[in-house]
Amino acid sequence: MVHSVDIKYYLVLAAVLFCLGMFGVLVRRNALVVFMCVELMLNAANLTFLAFARQNGDATGHVSAFFVIAVAAAEASIGLAIVIAVFRSRGTVNIEEIRTMKH
């Protein structure tokens, strides 16, 4: 495969996505947007798994990506339930105003 894209470019794209997600987690104050940025980081990890799976011709990377997607689904359901519970008791999803777990 002379003409295929080098794996480096896929890895750089994954790195860019991961850093964008990290920036969002650090900067945004809305808990829901923070969750979305975590999903971005999980997708960056998936992209890395799949790039190496293609490079090595091995299906194990695909299985790992499948597990990551399942864990992301569980994380989203639990996280959104916590967001709903916090919104019900505090009336906000701004993580600056939720200080209970800070010391």
Partner: protein, 170 residues
Amino acid sequence: MSIEHVLFGVFALLTVVSAVMVIVAKSPISSAMSLVATFFFLAGIYVLLWAHTVAVLQVLVYTGAIMVLFLFVIMLLNLGEANVTGPRVTLARVAGGVAAAGLLAVLVTAIWRIPSASTFTGSQAMSQGFGTLAVIGQTIYTRWLLPFEAVSLLLLVGMVGAVVVAKSRI
């Protein structure tokens, strides 16, 4: 320059642009819609990596189920646009930007030193059904059976936990 390069460039550009839109969008609805676009373009990139099954899972599970859950919660909480009161450039934003840029620099430097050894034998792997549901299912049910069952248990626990946490009275 083949069609694969062109498609990769287009999909990568669109993915990064829509991922930036997720972060800079003011209302959570706009963020969620941009995230849906990001997932679609990423699915295109997965197809370029011959991960057709994972691309289908991405569209079905992420954009079909998880994002619907996100939109449902956003509308349930009735969140409008965040009213910006403070300064636009805060210490936290500068620190976050510096941290993300530093990590990106380290990662790109490390990635660029990988020797580009092309061990992938394209047509041979393609004829063996690389990336198809049959091959992935065989791998899951032979070498990864216990983790697969653990994931099913995890999803059950997540489902029950979500109901318990979000319930008003127990």
